[in-house]
């Protein structure tokens, strides 16, 4: 998967994940979208952290 696409999907995971953490739940459609993204990305925590750190370099 292209890195740009992966970054964009990671951002979507973070967006949806944050929404769920803050609101306690997501709509069924959003839940399905999040699950689908996580399946595609197949992220472990360490991989997610590495990706997040790549973002952090700029932040």
């Amino acid at each position: 998967m292209e890195q740009n696409q992966k970054n964009s999907q990671l951002l979507q995971v973070a967006d949806l994940g944050l929404k769920r953490l803050k609101n306690g739940s997501l709509s069924p459609e959003q839940e399905a979208q999040l699950n689908e993204l996580l399946k595609k990305l197949d992220l472990s925590f360490e991989e997610a952290v590495r990706a997040a750190e790549a973002i952090l370099i700029r932040s």
């Binding site: 951002l11 953490l21 996580l38 197949d42 360490e46 997610a48 750190e53 973002i55 700029r58």
Partner: protein, 165 residues
């Protein structure tokens, strides 16, 4: 501060953080640290509230970092002209900086309150020693951990700590 200067400073700080930060990089280490803090806060309303505020700060910081990244992506994808990019960058950068400060304050206040009540606050040392980047990095790690912890679709890893099982 211009963008190049901004990127340059943070790139310099990150290896320092990695070298000096004794918090375990792995999920289990992060989960364990937060689980220990949460346990120490339990039963004290003030500490419980501040612990919750600190977690919310972590989520807020990750949110603004994502906003920040989105501005860069939009510029890269040609959706923003240079002037629009400068404006959006300035707006998000100001917000990011303010939320970063609030996150640092949250961790520091929680640590101070815990110390005042005779609780272990040794977890703050690697953050204080490493500086601003370390706080932001930990906030993002905690958020990612919580996002992935609630999912079953990771690579079969279990991020729960003993106390959460």
């Amino acid at each position: 501060m211009n963008i190049n200067e901004f990127i340059h400073i943070n790139k310099k700080e990150i290896p320092k953080f990695i070298a000096e930060n004794s918090l375990d990089q792995k999920a289990e280490g992060i989960a364990e640290v937060f689980s220990r803090i949460e346990n120490d806060c339990q039963g004290d309303k003030v500490l419980e509230d501040y612990f919750q505020k600190t977690i919310e700060s972590c989520y807020n910081y990750t949110t603004v970092v994502c906003d920040f990244e989105r501005v860069f992506q939009a510029e890269k994808d040609g959706q923003l002209d240079p002037e629009e990019f400068r404006e959006k960058f300035a707006e998000v950068d100001q917000r990011r900086s303010s939320i970063h400060n609030a996150t640092i304050d949250s961790f520091n206040i929680l640590s101070r309150l815990m110390a005042e009540r005779g609780k272990d606050n040794s977890w703050i040392k690697p953050l204080v020693n490493s500086g601003r980047v370390a706080y932001g990095n930990l906030a993002i790690k905690k958020t990612m951990l919580d996002i992935l912890k609630t999912e079953n679709i990771t690579k079969g890893e279990d991020y729960g700590t003993e106390s959460e099982k």
